[in-house]
Amino acid sequence: MPRSVWKGPFVDGYLLNKAEAARASTRNEIIKIWSRRSTILPQFVGLTFGVYNGKKFIPVQVNENMVGHKFGEFSPTRTFTGHSSDKKAKRG
């Protein structure tokens, strides 16, 4: 059963404060968090978080398409080593 709409999205409160502070500063910074359960809000767009996966902090660059998802979805907890082959990376 999905979460009731009247409750609003869940997010750990301290993330909101930290995101506001990060948006105000122009420094190049990565916000390390443990809160994988928090929903990504529009206020987080453009920020970079380091989301803990139990071992390390995976960089998560938040964009508009990620709003409504949880932070944990972008920080896998299991190792998958693929092949580079013809795969490309785009510099953001």
């Binding site: 609003g8 190049n28 390390k32 443990w34 929903t39 660059q61 990620m66 510099r91």
Partner: protein
């Protein structure tokens, strides 16, 4: 680019594991070679992970190829778009700060749906977002890239008002 798997049927077909971004693209780069580059393979994809290898017509011939890893010359890959880099080009590059202080070498480039990041192996492992702000210079000719590691802001779960919920 891929790996030849077990034989399929008695007419020389094989299972083919493709490692390319688009699995069907494995046959688009011309003949594939083995690891030593001594033998060439032309493959025709048949769907469902099956392929026909030119010159192989029976099961025994197909069985001999099981486990063969397939490669292609780097020059056979098309040039990437601006601001795009092949992972194979990035892996192994030396990473240093703008002041010239070495940070390590790129061990891997990963992407989990939230932007690519470099895994830099130095004295300790660094995960650097692959952005212009963090990696302003990528010099494939010199084999190095310049990185400005971002400041780390730690937000521990025990911070005050940790369990709040956002009001809509």
């Amino acid at each position: 680019m891929g790996e030849i798997g077990r034989p399929h049927g008695v007419r020389g077909l094989v299972k083919l594991r493709s490692f390319t971004a688009d699995p069907d693209a494995i046959a688009d780069y011309g003949p594939l070679t083995d690891e030593a580059g001594t033998r060439q393979y032309r493959v025709v994809l048949l769907g469902d992970g099956l392929a026909r290898v030119d010159g192989v017509t029976d099961r025994d011939g197909a069985a001999k190829l099981t486990g063969t890893r397939l490669y292609v010359e780097r020059a056979a890959l098309p040039p990437p778009e601006p601001e795009e880099y092949y992972l194979a080009d990035l892996v192994g590059l030396a990473v240093e700060t703008p002041e010239g202080q070495p940070l390590g070498t790129v061990r891997a480039v990963e992407e989990h749906g939230a932007g690519s990041f470099l895994v830099v192996q130095g004295r300790k492992e660094l995960l650097l977002p692959f952005t212009r702000a963090v990696v302003p210079v990528v010099d494939l000719v010199l084999g190095k890239l310049t990185a400005i590691p971002p400041d780390e802001v730690v937000v521990p779960p025990s911070a005050p008002s940790a369990q709040g919920e956002a009001a809509e």
